[in-house]
């Protein structure tokens, strides 16, 4: 292909212009965020309640050093997203739950923040073992496209409602009834969102309502009673899933971010789990929306810091959190985790605040 001299000059100019603009943008990007102040001699100490799944981010040396640059000394107390709304807030600068439902639950308890903002998103997924997932393909509960596993949420809920055993569904060495474990839905967010999804699936896929929950309450209680003991933190439940193995925890609800975080930050542990543990994306799923709720000025400073590009990038690349508009701030391949999707499929809306409160109440009081 031939190109005229003028066109060539034009192209070179365009390339050069793009390059300059890009360089300027990159240079700007590399500059400190305008809203982040020059570090004062005494950093602002900021502490609050943090959902367990974000602890690895907050403990990250790179996160801490970015915070120091921003003049912050960030600390936390671990608490479930719902539990933190009922906790003693004395001396706390922020709450950082993992869902809008938790924020709304807080509002009903008089816990509000006028400065709140969405910081991250992560889809609720089911963690399981390759042999378990593969054996459930034949019954249609699980589907597999290449490396990616999907779990049919409606079919799973129906199988639990019908007291199907693992063997009924194709996993012969599973003991007892088919169940998907989660954290305590009355205390921790991942369990809470799972409960919302269960109630929504029982309502034919439309967001559950106070009425539909009333109608389906026995089934909802029966499904959750299959798990019995439940951890109160998503971090602990994921750790237990990995530690105890498929004999104790064949399937566990969690956040997509958890395995990505593990792969980056605990490569030795991940290497042990890599061949066995798989992510099953729920179809449909629900999004866990991580909302920062500043309670004072220090909390507002933390919010601005969390929203900065540097933290957003770090949160994806090293901890697997998708951004406020549900996108990955980078490639999925960098994690070396098989079966991670670029774009998460269909998600359901969370039920209304009234319906969520009824659901929590039902699961807490068993009636």
């Amino acid at each position: 292909m031939k190109m005229s001299r003028s066109k060539l000059i034009g192209l070179v100019a365009v390339v050069a212009a793009v390059g300059i603009v890009g360089a300027v943008l990159a240079w700007r990007q590399a500059q400190p965020e305008p809203e982040v102040p020059v570090p004062p001699a005494q950093p602002t100490v900021v502490t609050g309640y943090l959902g367990g799944e974000k602890i690895s981010l907050f403990d990250d040396d790179q996160f801490q050093s970015l915070a120091t640059d921003a003049g912050l000394s960030v600390s936390y107390k671990k608490a479930g997203s719902l539990a933190m709304m009922d906790a003693d807030l004395t001396g706390m600068d922020y709450l950082f739950p993992s869902s809008r439902a938790a924020v709304e639950y807080g509002a009903t308890k008089g816990v509000t923040s006028s400065d709140q903002d969405i910081v991250f998103n992560s889809p609720i997924v089911v963690y399981t073992y390759r042999d378990v997932a593969d054996s459930l393909v034949a019954s249609g509960l699980v589907s597999k496209e290449g490396e990616v596993y999907h779990l049919d949420a409606a079919a799973a809920v129906q199988a639990m409602a019908e007291d199907k055993t693992w063997a009924d569904l194709g996993w012969a060495s599973g003991y007892g009834q088919f169940r998907i474990d989660s954290t305590d839905p009355t205390k921790s967010n991942s369990g809470n969102e799972w409960a919302a999804l269960v109630a929504t699936m029982l309502n034919g896929g439309s967001p559950a309502t106070v009425d539909s929950i009333e109608r389906d309450k026995d089934t909802i209680l029966a499904i959750f009673s299959k798990s019995g003991w439940m951890e109160t933190s998503s971090e602990d439940s994921f750790a237990q899933f990995l530690t105890l193995g498929e004999g104790s925890k064949p399937m566990m609800v969690g956040y997509e971010s958890q395995i990505l975080d593990l792969a980056v930050n605990e490569p030795d542990l991940y290497a042990q789990a890599k061949d066995d543990v798989v992510i099953a994306y729920l179809t449909p799923t629900v999004w866990s929306t991580h909302v920062i709720m500043p309670l004072d000025d220090a909390g507002v400073q933390l919010r601005d810091f969390l929203k900065s590009d540097a933290v957003q990038r770090l949160a994806w690349e090293r901890h697997g959190f998708r951004n406020a508009s549900y996108a990955a701030a980078g490639s999925t391949e960098q994690f070396g985790v098989p079966g991670v999707v670029d774009k998460v499929g269909a998600a359901v809306e969370l039920p209304s605040t009234d319906a969520m409160n009824r659901l929590i109440d039902l699961l807490a009081n068993k009636h």
Binding site: D59, K77, K226, M230, L244, G247, L269
Partner: protein
């Protein structure tokens, strides 16, 4: 002093006891619900050595240390229920850890982690339920927790103090039993691992072919797990127990029958192992961690005795995940903690954990399966398998159901306790000694008081009170929770005269129940141990001639002298407790955990 002749009192002797007074457990249950926060300071003072107060060395190199040894460059000093690991060049502050007793077997790994991190570690051994209560009360004085299972952290950490929890290793709860017993039950094939459904274990107990020891369900994780797994199996369920299940009279009766097969109870998993090792012919089976069955077998083999055979419940009992977590009370020891935690997760430390019979790979796998000592620990000839699929957990009930089930155990389902309290009222016990004794009796026997610590008497328990000085002063019997007269007598008896503890113990032998299988029997001797009359040999001969498996648990008070007490405990597979310093409630909880 307000005493009456023993013979004229209720005259409950031997195995007679009343059954079925239903109202009492309900009240106890209600009280238990309230006990959460109330536990507070009581359990702490005994072991609450504040990190900041504890300077390296001094208070620890006290001459009465039970045991001093060196592992690598780390000195390990054992004093009672506490163990201190000091590296040669301590570079960091001291870490005070509330730990399950099973971690005594992880000594080498802890020493390696101390050497690598430069951290000095104080291990305070206690039951899982104690750890739960400790957390609920704020864990003053402690930097970290290390129970057998995460469940106890989740249940106790109502103040959100614990963070950075990581599992250090896993080990399943299994049955270890004499080869002859396993063979008779058809559960032993040389070189193979036996997996038996829990329902079959239940049937073997019901048919009288299997009697076993386990820890107290209300004091220790392995006992609690086994109890809950058996309840689930008896309920015929493959889903977790519910509150409704627990109401069933049929279920309660079958569980009571099953627990009647418990031949000894214990407050701690590690002591249970020691008891079996000390007398394998008497205690032929135990429910315990795989790692402690391995530890027992190493000791038995070394002593030239037959090792136990491991039997794995096919549907699972429970898995210990041994989590180590930091307690954030604002004391600023995080860095010291993470140094130690990281050092405990290195290959060197994990190798030692696996040599001690723990599993450190994910999902119950061995990370060092090629190491000769690890292979020796997971010996197929003992029925032990390194296969990760044996890590199975029976479905655990929800937290509220679990609390309810444990309470049911203590107040009505466990094998009734028949306890003979032989109490020194000699002149030397006047003052602090007598105060300690009466307070201790109250903590153990006053139903309202004891319920707070889950050691309350059941309707079927029997208590015999034998106060003595140079002779037996009196005798008082109490049935079930009706302990007021006994406690009043303990209060009203004055401490005077000389000491002859053997005359008190001889009286206790006469009060043993005729049907000893119906009870967990124990003689608890509370004394300052300064008997002026040394009839030891005479008494020991009498005890041995009786030929019954009754432990003597001496509790030291006043100016105690343990030299007269140790032989009694050793002869009877008992244990000496210290009631002199610190927290009496803690001591009595522990004593009651053994009976």
């Amino acid at each position: 002093m307000g005493t009456t002749q023993g013979g004229e009192r209720k005259g409950v002797r031997g195995g007679e006891h009343r059954r079925g007074r239903a109202a009492v457990p309900v009240v106890l249950l209600a009280l238990l619900v309230m006990f959460g926060g109330a536990f507070l300071a009581l359990s702490l003072s005994a072991c609450g050595t504040d990190a900041s107060e504890t300077e390296t060395g001094d208070s620890w190199s006290a001459p009465n240390a039970d045991d001093v040894e060196t592992i690598g460059d780390v000195s390990v000093i054992t004093m009672g229920k506490t163990q201190k690991f000091t590296p040669k060049d301590p570079t960091a502050a001291t870490l005070v850890i509330a730990s399950g007793s099973e971690n005594k077997e992880a000594k080498s790994a802890i020493a390696i982690a101390c050497a690598q991190s430069g951290v000095t570690v104080e291990m305070h051994y206690m039951g899982s339920v104690d750890i739960k209560n400790l957390l609920a009360s704020g864990a003053d004085g402690y930097d970290a927790v290390w129970p057998a299972s995460s469940i106890w952290i989740s249940m106790g950490d109502t103040q959100h103090l614990v963070k950075d929890t990581q599992s250090t290793s896993t080990t399943p709860v299994i049955l270890g039993m004499a080869k002859s017993m396993a063979t008779e039950l058809g559960w032993y094939t040389p070189g193979q691992t036996t997996s038996v459904p829990t329902a079959d274990i239940v049937r073997a107990v019901q048919s009288g072919k299997l009697a076993f020891s386990m820890t107290s369900a209300t004091q220790s994780n392995s006992g609690a797990s086994a109890y809950l797994a058996f309840l689930t199996a008896l309920a015929g369920k493959d889903t977790p127990l519910t509150a409704d299940d627990l109401e069933s009279a049929t279920l309660q009766d079958s569980m009571r029958d099953l627990l009647s097969g418990v031949d000894r109870s214990s407050g701690s998993s590690d002591w249970l192992k020691e008891m079996v090792v000390a007398n394998p012919d008497q205690h032929r089976a135990m429910i315990n961690y795989e790692s402690l069955v391995i530890a027992a077998n190493k000791e038995l083999t070394e002593a030239g005795a037959d090792p136990l055979v491991a039997v794995y419940p096919a549907d699972g009992i429970a898995v210990s995940d041994s989590p180590l977590g930091y307690i954030d009370r604002g004391q600023g020891n995080e860095e010291v903690f993470s140094k130690f935690q990281e050092a405990l997760a290195t290959d060197d430390a994990k190798l030692e954990l696996e040599r001690a019979g723990r599993r450190t790979g994910l999902g119950g796998k061995l990370a060092h399966a090629d190491d000769a000592q690890v292979q020796a620990a997971f010996d197929p000839d003992w029925g032990i398998t390194e296969d990760a699929s044996v890590l199975r957990t029976a479905p655990m009930p929800a937290a509220d159901v679990m609390t309810q089930a444990l309470n049911l155990y203590q107040s009505t389902l466990r094998k009734p306790a028949y306890t003979i309290w032989v109490v020194d009222y000699s002149g030397s016990m006047e003052g602090a000694g007598k105060e300690g004794v009466t307070e201790g009796l109250r903590l153990a026997l006053d139903p309202a008081e004891a319920t707070r610590y889950m050691i309350q008497p059941s309707d079927y328990d029997l208590n015999v009170f034998v106060p003595f000085n140079h002779s037996v002063i009196d005798t008082e019997f109490a049935t079930g929770a009706d302990t007021q007269d006994l406690l009043a007598l303990a209060e009203d008896t004055s401490a005077t005269g000389g000491t002859n503890m053997y005359i008190g113990l001889e009286a206790a032998l006469q009060y043993l129940p005729k049907d000893e299988d119906a009870f967990t029997v124990a003689i608890i001797l509370m004394t300052d141990g300064q008997s002026d009359v040394d009839d030891k040999d005479d008494f020991m001969r009498q005890y041995q001639e009786l030929g019954r498996d009754v432990p003597i648990f001496p509790i030291m008070f006043g100016m105690a002298d343990s030299s007269q007490l140790e032989p009694l405990a050793q002869m009877s597979d008992g244990k000496v407790f210290d009631g002199r310093s610190g927290d009496l409630a803690q001591t009595f909880r522990e004593v009651k955990g053994y009976n």
